[in-house]
Every structure is written in C-alpha cells, then in structure tokens.
Symmetry: D2
Subunit: 299 residues, 4 copies
C-alpha cells in the first residue's frame, strides 16, 4: 500500500469572489502556498471546502483546478461524498479522470440511515474508480456507530478501501479501528483539537480546517511529537487547542479564517456561502494577529 | 391569520420512475388521491419527499406539477429549505410564482450553525416572498435549541412568519412554544408517533410521512380526539405507534411504503434515490397488508 | 388486577426541620392534606422525596409515618430503589411490613449497568415481597433503553410486576410499552410536563413533583381531559407547562416549592439536603403567588 | 505545589468476602502489592471501589486500613464524594484525620444540579480540610459542562483546590483546562482508554480501574511515552485499548477483574455488591490469561 497519505493535509478552503463564484485564481494561489509549505497533501471539497453549498459542476471545477495547479507536486484527495449516491459516484469518476490520488466520502447525511445503507453507499463509491478510497467519519453527523470489529470487517470488504479520515474528539474509537485493522488501513485524524494525541492511536497524518492557516507550525509540531519530542507536542497542542477554542467560541469562524488568510498570506478567500458565515461578528486585525502568533510562536 | 393550515397533511412522497426521474403522472395521481381523501393540505418536497436528493430544478418541477394538479382544491405548502440560503430563496420565490399557499424551511443542515446564522437564514427566506412562512424544526438535525422565550421572540420577528412544523417526540418544547406565542403562530406536529398527543400542546394540524398511506384513518382519529373522543384517540394512537415501530424497526421503511402504496392505492411510487432505500429487505405483501389493516381497522 | 393505581399521585416531598432531620409532624400534615384533597395515592421516598440523600433507616421512618397517617384512606406506593440491591430488598420488605400497597424502584444508578444486571435487580426486588411492583423508568439516569418488545417481555417475567412509572417527555416509548403489554401493566406517567398527553398513551395515572402543590387542579384537568374535554386539557397543559418552565429555568426549584407550600398550605417543608437546593436564589412571595394562581385559575 | 500526584494510580478495588463485607486482609495485601510495584499512589473508595454501594462507616474503615497499610510508602487520595454534601464533608474530615494525602470528590449525582450547586458542593468539601482537593469529573454522570474559562476560574477559587481527575475520552476539554490553568492545577486522566494521549494534554498522572491489574505495564508505557518513546506508547495503547474493549464488550467486567486478580496475583477480591456484577457471564481462565498477557507482553 502506498505510504504517501501522511503528514499535514489542509482541508482546503474554497475561495469565493465578490460574486459568490469560485475564485479560481486564489484557488491556484492557495494550492501554490501549500505546495511551497511542503505539506502532506490536499483534501479538496470537504466540509471546510463547503461541499454541501456547491453543485456537482462547481465541485468538478474546483477539483480540476487544484489538481492542475498541484501538478503532481503534492497528492490530492478529493472528497466526493454527497447527499445522493449517484452524485458521489459521478464525482469519484470525475476525480479519477482529473488525476486525483484518492477519493474520500463522508457518511450519508440528514436521514437516519442504517449501517447496511451506509455500506452500500461506500461500496458503490469505492468500486466506482480504481483509486484508494478513504471513508470520512464525521462523528457530529454520522448516523452509525464505528469502532466494533464488525464495523471494521465490513469496511475492509469495501472495494479499494485504503483508509479513513476520522473526525472525532473521542480517540478510543480511533485506536480500536487501528488495532482491529493494523496495516490494512491508513488512518488520518480529522479533529484538529487532538492532532498529536491521534498519533498514539496510529494516525499517520491529519486532515483539517486549521491547517489552511497553521500548516507549517502543525507539521513541525506533529513531526517533532511523532519523533519523540513529547514536550514540544504537549506545548504546541495546548497553544493550538486554546486558539481553536478562541475561534470556535467567537461564533465567527469564517470571518476569522478570512481575515487570517489575508493578514498572514495576503490571500482573499472571500465570504463563504450563507448560511455559513451568516450573522458573524467582525474580528479586529489585532486580535487575529495575536491568535496567529500564539500558535506560530516557538516559546 | 388564515385558519387553513390544519388537519392532516401528508409530507408527500415524490414518486420516481424506473429511470430514477420524477414520475410526474404518479405525482398527479397522488395529488388527486389526497384531494379525494379530503386531507388538510399537501407538504411538498420535504424530508419524505427526498429534497436533499433533488436538484433545485427537479424540486421546481415537482412543485409546479403538484400545484397545478391540486388546482386550488387543497392548500399546498412547499418546503424550500436547502443547504445554501440562496437556493432556499430561489425555491421560495418559485413557489410563490407557482401558486403555493405557504413556504416552509428546515433549519440549515450539516454544520454546527449558530442561532444567529439560523435566524439570518430564516429572515432571508421569510422576506423572499409574501407567503406565510413556516419554520420546520426537525429535532434530529437541528443545530440549535428551541423552546425558550428568547427563541420565540426572535421567531416572531421573522418576516411573514406564520407558524412552525415541529418534528420532535418530546412535546414539552412544543407546548412551551404554543404557550409563548398563543395565536400568533400556527403549529403543526411533524412526529407522526405523537399526532394526537400534540393536540394537547396546541397543534392545529399534523404533517408527516405516514399520512401518505393512512391519511383518512389519521384524519378521522385526530378529528375524533380533538372533538373529545379521547378513548378513540388513545386506541388509535396505540395501533398507530405499533405500526410505526414495526416499519422503523424493520430498517426497510422505503420498501414498505412502496409496497403499501401499491397494494392499497395501486400507485407505483418507485424506489427512492440511494442511499435512501439502499440495502433494504423485502416486505411480503401479506405483512404489508396486515400492517395496513392494523391501522385502518375500527376495533 | 387492582384498578386502584390511577389518578394524581404526588411524589411526596419529605419535609425537613431546621436540624436537617425529617419533620414528622409536617409529614403527617402533608399526608392529611393529600387525603383531604382526594388524590389518587402517595408515592413516598421517590426522587422528589430525596431518597438518595437519606439512609435506609430514615427512609423506613418516613414510610412508616406516612402509611400510619394515611391509615388506609389513600394508597401508598413506596419507592425502594437504592444504589445497592440489598438495600432495595430491605426497603421493599419493610414497606410490606409497614402496610404499603405497592413498591417501586428506579433502575440502578451511577454505573453503566447492562440490561441483564438491571433485570436481575428488578427480579430480586419484585420477588422480595408479595406487593405489586412498579418499575420506575427515569430517562435522565437510566442506563438501558426501553420500548422494545424484548424489553417488555422481560419485564412481564419479573415477579409481582404490576406496572411502570415512566418519566420521559418522549411519549412514543410510553405508548409502545402500553401497546405491547395491554392490560398486563398499569402505566403511570412521571413527566408532569406531559401529564394529559400521556393519557393518550394509556397512562392511567400520573406521579410527579408538582402534584404536591397543584394536586387538585391537576386532578380536575386530568379527569376532564380523560372524560373528553380536550380543550380544557389543552388549556390547562399550556398553563402548567409554562409554570413548570418558569420554575425549572429559575434554577431555584426547591426554594420555589418551599415558599409555595408555605404560602398555599401553610406547611413548612424546610430546606432539602445539600447539594439539593444549594446556591439557589430566593423567590419573592409575589412571584410565587402569581405562579400558583396561574395554574390554579380557571380561565 | 507538591509534585507527588503523578504516575499511575489504581482506582483501588475494594475486596469483599463471601459474606459481602470488606475483606480487610485482602485490602492490605492489595495495598502491599501496589507499594511493591512502585505505583504513583492509591485512589481509594472511588467508582471502581464501589463507593455508592457502601455506607459512610464502611468507607471510613476501608480508608483507615489502606492508609495504615500504606504507612507513608505511597500517597493516598481518598474519594469522599457522596450523594449528600454532609456525608462528603464527614468523609473528607475523616480522611484528613486518618492521614490521607489528598481528597477528591465526584460531582453531585442523580439530579440535574446547576453549576452553582455543584460549586457550592465543591466549596464545602474543599474547605472542610487542609488537604489538597481534586475535583473528579466523570463525564458520564456529570450534570454540568466543563472546559470554559468561566468554569476554570470558578474552580481555582475553590478552597484547597489542587487539581482534577478528568474521566472523559474527549481530550479537547482536558487540554483546555490545562491551557487555562497552567501550573495552578494538577491534572490526572481517568479514562484508561486514552492514558498516554492525555500526556499531550498536560496530564501528570493517571487514575483508573485497569491499573489494579496492569499497573506496572501501564507505568512503564506511560513513562516511556512521556520520555519520548512515542512508538512504544502507541504500540502499548493499541494493545491496551483492545484489551479494554474486550472486557467492556463482554458485559462481564467484574467477573473478569476478579478472575484476573486471582490468576495474576493470587488475590481474591470477591464479588462486588449487586447490582454490580449481577447476571454476568463467566470468563474462562484461559481467556483471562490471554488478555492479561496481551497487555503485559513486550512485543
């Protein structure tokens, strides 16, 4: 199995222009930024990339542009999950044609789907291409429980299954999946809040929102921790969790991300599509700068 | 305020053909059926109508056809909720042009939206038309809590707000909203399982999945209960809850609904779009018939 | 099966003196009050009666005094649930000797007990006496799910099982248990907030905190509703739910109950044992009076 | 502040004899075992020690015997939490007289206590002695949320507050408390399942059930991980989580612990008080041995 799906992967923001359409130039700049930072890979059109707010066509456009810009310099995993299985399959096939390195799909949303229905959805997506397939478990929306031996056995039977992106602050389940599957699955942690902790559960990489902003610092901290500098890992995680808490408790996460990407990188990612970002309060540049530095500093 | 939003409203199934496209002829027949049954109204493209699986264009097509078929003989409320506020606004305006009597929208989905973001979404949809607007609270997916005085005050400030569809088995919250808003809101219950119980919380009608199949029986039972025949209401609800439990615990709700609509009404509603209905087990005609009769019988 | 376990049963407050000990004289007065009000029965040393704060000996003392005062004029059901099965069995046997009409026990607390462990606990308590046994399901603390056919079958196999006190605002489960057990179990609702609604699920009576204060009004409303005056039931429930919400949201429920029992009945129930009642804010007599009247009034 | 509250602390089992009374001799042997293993300290009469099943007198007896046996060779933290604040205060004072090194208390149980009530309970216990006080947050029973700055500020104002035992698989909250309090609180992790992961959140030690059985292996793994051997930490945690899952999913945890302590150490801890351990299935010695070795092995 390929070992390339490791390190820090930003769950890429999808930049939008004033007109609400995808800002393709900024998308290319963002891709270039992450390549230049030497990050592990790009996770495109995921939750942070606002997939539920885009049409299938828009998602294809974003995927094509990122892959073309990346030009093989960084692996690209395309999130193809959708409300309809057929759309997910369409997106998976498109991703393969466009040159993606892997596809990923969140569990079906909104309804109380049975485990059987969820696995049928996985089966169809996994077998739609020859790409490695990563199931995306998002605990806040998933209709089914994971972490049992029965679950992992069913998962290993999915065509092209390569791993999981597990977004859950509870790491017991994460470790059990690793323990039950060993080297047969590549696990990436999706909860930024416990990025380094997940290493101890067998996470070989991390995919998340805040790596758009703090990718290099997170990459350094994660690498240091994985290499044995537990003190550095602890010190970083306390700063990082504090910063995340400040952003989340503000209720204005999208406004923060926009201001921070502009201040730190000079990139204008624009406003997200409502209801995302709706009715948020402004962040002062000073507060944004302080928070950026709080995480980036090496105390 | 209009008093027309009462009685039993099926959350209309959206019939699909073998090709997966909307079966417009069956949709018309279904509309005709509900008109002939003298039901209270039609709730179109809601959760039962599979809204998350359809494009905006498909939803418009369904709405137009139902309203045209209904031809003013029964009120039509159009669910316009969508992942993107802009789509919900587009759908609301379309519903008004198409001749709908009211619009409704579920709270924004998937993300952990703040109350401010939710109300901004309501504000945009409510003010997009001059139609009565009914907020659709679906407890299983809602990111915010309802039932406080603050919530109802904010709700009453939404443009064109006319009421709520409240889908929650916990009726304490329902009653509090009624108590806090009195005659200023029209409340409809969305949890079939507590249809008659919700009368005692001020529900003036009910919208739900199982009224596609058992509309007349539910309408009789609800009317009898509301008129004082508590024994009839109790006897019916015990039979009805039992039947719902049998369907839900089978894990094959869509297969049941399809077989039941065919057996009872000769209408072919087809398979839902996957992942809905995926990996379900078959129901025997005999089991379906028994369950239909269990609810329809007058013991 | 006896039909005596119906109507409105206060989950009796346990009055305490300045010294923190049970105020036996007030306990007798309270018993006399409920007898004079013609309530359905008394539920002694339940959650409202602060059972977790008392020793086994104190609980026996309370039970003896209430039964002696009641003198057969009103049925007495004794809550014998305890952290240790052995204590519950001791309390059940004592209740029988003291002349109780029934025993009841909450599911085991604190730990994540398995269904098997819960039913073994029930079995031991049920078979400890020849009294009718009522399982007390308190959804907020119960470690196991109820409402399946398997659950009700196991329940019906418990020695002397006579019924359940179900404290859950979700009435779907309540109705299923009634539907699955028919006349073999007597069901009493424990969530004051849905007192009348539970009639439609087959509740033959109600046990709860607020019947200490509003017993007669609740009894009238419940009887009227059960007899077919649905409008009266609805009007009462909206007032009652509002009053409950005012008390709960104040965060000072024990202070309210004490002030209200003093103002309305001249009975001094004292302060509960901390941590109950700790750090509560005072209620003004005026606010208490208004709330009392809000429920008692016949608009 | 003392630095002694680190390392691996078994949440001590309370051995019982055939007669159901505390087996004082085994209790002494258990104490001796943990001293000989060089563990970090002893947490007495906690959840694993079955505190809810014992009287105040029995708890005092256990505490006295452990402290006397420990004879200063290992620190002893006494859990004094109780349903009644007064009992907790009595137990705290007794613990101080008996020579305990610290006291600890779980949040008040059973009722939906307000944050104000919880802090008043902490205040009374903390100020009852001059010992360091450790709040015990058990997420499965706690009525209040932790992890906000407001929470930690209130906590730091509690008399003699020295730290927390945090039992929660979600480590985000844990890290935030550390980040908000720095060196002012000593944090110990209570979820065995994430023992090493909690190091990265600032845990300076761990208190838990399974350290009765696997104390030395856990101590070695934890120390290795804290010193930078992340691979060893990961490998151990995967084995440890697997073993915990095997025990928990068996539904027979008490039977396992009893058999395992007998097989590995020749200590007879007896059966717990029902409902704990009720209706459990037997473990074969072979299965128990395999599981013991699975964790103890150095692969």
């Amino acid at each position: 199995m390929s070992s390339r799906f490791g390190g820090i992967w930003p769950a890429m923001l999808t930049p939008l222009g004033e007109d609400g359409r995808v800002a393709l130039t900024v998308l290319e700049q963002l891709t270039e930024l992450f390549v230049s930072q030497g990050l592990g890979g790009l996770y495109v059109t995921g939750s942070t990339g606002q997939w539920p707010l885009f049409t299938v066509e828009e998602r294809c456009l974003v995927v094509e542009r990122v892959i073309r810009s990346a030009a093989g310099r960084i692996p690209v995993m395309v999130h193809v999950g959708a409300a309809a299985t057929a759309d997910a399959v369409t997106l998976a096939r498109h991703a393969e044609r466009a040159g993606a390195h892997a596809v990923s799909a969140v569990t079906p949303i909104y309804y109380a789907h049975s485990a059987d229905a969820v696995f049928e959805y996985y089966r169809e997506i996994g077998s739609a291409t020859s790409l490695p397939f990563f199931v995306y478990h998002l605990s806040s929306v998933s209709p089914i429980a994971i972490g049992s031996r029965e679950y992992t056995q069913r998962l290993l039977a999915v065509s092209n299954i390569a791993g999981m992106k597990i977004t859950d602050r509870d790491l017991y389940t994460f470790g059990l999946i690793k323990a039950f599957t060993g080297d047969r699955l590549q696990l990436l942690s999706g909860a930024d809040e416990v990025m380094c902790q997940a290493i101890l559960c067998g996470a070989q990489g991390a995919i998340g929102t805040f790596y758009n902003l703090w990718g290099p610092a997170c990459q350094r901290a994660r690498a240091a921790c994985a290499a044995g500098d537990v003190n550095a890992g602890q010190a970083f995680m306390l700063r990082f969790q504090c910063a995340i808490a400040a952003v989340l408790s503000s209720g204005s996460i999208w406004t923060f991300l926009r201001a921070a990407m502009r201040l730190k990188y000079g990139l204008e990612i624009g406003k997200p599509r409502p209801p995302l970002g709706a009715a948020e309060c402004p962040w002062t540049d000073e507060d944004v700068r302080q928070l950026i530095e709080q995480v980036d500093s090496n105390p």
